[in-house]
Symmetry: C2
């Protein structure tokens, strides 16, 4: 008997299999172009199990975004640690964060859930804490760059950096031939200056 | 006999009525939550007419985005003219553009079509020229602020400003209590410094 609720051969739990399959399918066919049937087949679970584990499709997209934000924050922590060990400069740190934003992996899903948040406050309420986790990471970066400024000034820097990192994905969304090296380097130099520092720092 | 192809009492052509109705309905219920039937009723046209005037729903969203970009570029031209007449400062000009981005009118639809562009290159190809029109406006603003720099440096400024203005909408998407005055003022001051200028300019 098929027991879809159990871990698969690789030890992945059904919830993770659904998230992974949804990531692939939503990325290729879009959120609304993926039926629950197709998702169940791809994740080797039953349709009922999807409904037991997730409230609705928004809930699955939010789970993917949460996982992505977690991954990105994990990468940022490694970057911070490298800055603290003086292995990389602040410009290099900001460039690394900009690179991730430009690579635009799962950017489509992020913009989709942002669109959902614009018209549905319950989606917005669930997205907000995830954005806050990412914002905390950026705030840490800005505070390392400018330990001398107060909370209000720091908040202004964080607003601009957040807007930039969220907005940079539009480049890769509309054009397949963005030079990620050049664009992330430029972004880092301009943002460093926005922070009131010299790009050589 | 009902003649839905004709202009209505206010003189609006069917295409404009469909765009206006779609803007309202997509904004309230989302792109995928709006059926063609409902759209036809709201626009006082037949379903057939929608299909004759637009290839598909993406085509309607692109038409809305095109109209919005046109409106925004129109507003930017007024802002440039005011800067050239020395009626407002460069900081005030950038703050005005940031305010529009933060107000986030139709931001949901923009993020939705950006999500579509991430997975569908034909959507990306149609979105690109609209983004380019907006980019030209921002480039004009950056060139007025820094007439002394070359194209490469100008391009770096424009990238950051574009990313910022596109990304700023996330604030209003996830939170209904953003202080637009404070955030746009901060954005303008930080961006002016990013451009290598003093906020008093």
């Amino acid at each position: 008997m098929n027991q879809p609720s159990k871990r698969d051969a690789k030890g992945n739990a059904p919830r993770d299999r659904i998230i992974d399959a949804a990531r692939r399918l939503f990325g290729a066919h879009g959120f609304h172009g993926t039926t629950t049937d197709k998702l169940a087949t791809a994740a080797s679970v039953s349709v009922g199990q999807i409904y037991r584990l997730f409230e609705d499709k928004d809930d699955i997209v939010l789970a993917i975004v949460e996982k992505n934000v977690g991954d990105r924050v994990g990468e940022m922590r490694e970057i911070f640690a490298a800055v603290e060990r003086s292995e990389i400069s602040m410009v290099e740190a900001i460039r690394a964060v900009a690179r991730t934003a430009l690579k635009g992996e799962d950017a489509g899903l992020f913009y989709e859930i942002l669109a959902g948040a614009c018209r549905n406050s319950s989606v917005a309420d669930r997205l907000e804490p995830m954005i806050d986790v990412y914002r905390d990471g950026i705030q840490h970066l800005a505070a390392s760059a400018r330990p001398d400024v107060g909370q209000a000034e720091l908040g202004a820097y964080v607003d601009i950096m957040m807007a930039c990192f969220i907005g940079l994905g539009h480049r890769t969304a509309i054009s397949r031939c963005v030079d990620i090296d050049v664009t992330s380097e430029n972004a880092a130099c301009v943002l460093i200056r926005a922070l009131g520092l010299s790009p050589s720092i």
